[in-house]
Symmetry: C2
Subunit: 290 residues, 2 copies
């Protein structure tokens, strides 16, 4: 039976790339394109079985819309994670010099990732924000004007654009972490990560107390993030990620303690930690830039 | 001598509103409009003496671009905070019914703040992201088509638009916290807040240890947030806000301990906590919605 998987389109975005990597070698996947993250997450369990969503970028931080939907509005669980390098390129219809370019189009996060490059090398170019990097490429491909788009090199092939500058992101260690959402998470593999969200009473030391449960057992926290509770300014829900599976004996006990000492608690999922070299050699991973 | 203050334009944005409230009654302010937050923050100390920037919204969370510039790229300090309600409205050129509206324009954050309203009441309308709520109003005002903009009611007067739906934000407790940046912070008032950023060693329990310094003295943390270190995925810089002034005896001692136990430490400033009712009656605060 086909597994229906949603991804953020159109073709040529980094999310589509992550989806291709995740599903490569498995012919049971039926791929459905979505145009917004909320629409896609709302559809898990009805139109689709799984969804690939961006969760965190090494430079720009968490994708808040994804995080907030998981905290406040969805029952979906995290089943898997993938970490992919983000290489941004400047694409144009003709071989314009950088000085000639008048407008540069892209998704706001892609523009910010190349902030310094654009500021120094295209100081006169106006920035125009688009809904996706592919939308930017589409706009640039339709015009004869000295415009450029910022995005994945594959957009060049898809929209008939030239690469006028390569790897223009300001930080070379730019990677994005994607997650696969589904109605359930994964079984233990011995190399897992668990994501939980919780809220504490609004009084001195309450977060400190919760972190103490993990510190006592020497559990390694790999991420902590606060998001608004949406009740009042200064009240937060915390996302915490820890090494281990929620069925591991020690972590299970700690999570029980956390649940008993918080005003809100939810496990987003346990899933295998990303490892370099996945999928194994011989898989369908052709582009070394992925 | 004039104090040159920067704000995020154009007129009619919430930031301009915050700037008007902050400077009201003081004629020494010379107001300079900027079109981007980075450009404005880079200009503190050269083109301008102070800047008004959005820092945090009760629903959407921190304004990451502001936070990251303060962490990584600026020496500016926080001198003051202001907390203003955000009331979003749907504005159009003619009295269209909600069903007729085909495209809705606004800044992405304003669109997200009205996500549920737009999803339920204008299910067929396409979303188009703009650089500011004022830019959205300008686009809508230029066309005869059934388009609408989301933004402050004052945009109606400025661009000749009608309010077709009022207070459309999904959460009614929607407030934005603005900060005033300058080359120095404020003197103690007895009702202050202090913002610091720091990074810890990447090993179990290191954040827990730092929070312990505050918990031991019963100091109330009002915000904790993690941002990418920009060195590697999973390494963070923390923003922490605490009640008190950095010159208060107890807090001063704790901050010294924090500095001695972190790999990076910077005080963003101590400043008076926002109080309802400021400015005092008789000030220039005419709009009760402010």
């Amino acid at each position: 039976m086909a597994i229906r998987i949603g991804y953020l389109g159109p073709a040529g975005t980094f999310t589509e790339e992550a989806m291709c990597l995740y599903t490569s070698g498995n012919e049971h996947y039926e791929k459905l394109e979505f145009s917004s993250i909320p629409e896609m997450i709302y559809s898990i369990g009805t139109k689709i079985d799984e969804a690939v969503v961006p969760f965190e970028n090494s430079i720009e931080g968490s994708v808040n819309v994804t995080l907030d939907l998981l905290i406040h509005e969805s029952m979906a669980m995290i089943k898997k994670e993938l970490v992919l390098p983000v290489n941004q390129n400047l694409l144009a219809k003709k071989p314009f010099s950088l000085e000639e370019i008048e407008i540069v189009y892209s998704h706001p996060q892609a523009l910010y990732q190349c902030r310094r490059f654009l500021h120094e090398r295209l100081p006169k170019a106006l920035w125009r924000e688009t809904e996706s990097t592919a939308e930017a490429a589409r706009i640039v491909a339709k015009s004869e004007k000295p415009w450029a788009a910022v995005g994945h090199r594959r957009l060049g092939e898809l929209y008939g654009l030239l690469i006028v500058a390569e790897n223009i992101q300001d930080y070379k260690n730019n990677v994005t972490r994607f997650i696969i959402l589904s109605h359930e998470d994964s079984l233990p593999t011995g190399f897992d990560r668990t994501s939980v969200v919780f809220a504490t009473e609004n009084k001195p030391g309450s977060l400190y107390r919760v972190l103490g449960f993990f510190a006592r057992e020497n559990l390694n926290l790999t991420k902590i993030e606060s998001r608004p509770s949406r009740k009042a300014l200064g009240e937060y829900v915390f996302l915490l990620e820890v090494e281990g599976h929620r069925d591991d004996e020690v972590l299970k006990k700690v999570l029980m303690e956390v649940q008993n000492n918080t005003t809100y608690f939810k496990i987003l999922g346990s899933y295998p930690r990303w490892q370099e070299g996945y999928p194994p050699a011989g898989g369908d991973r052709k582009d070394p830039n992925l």
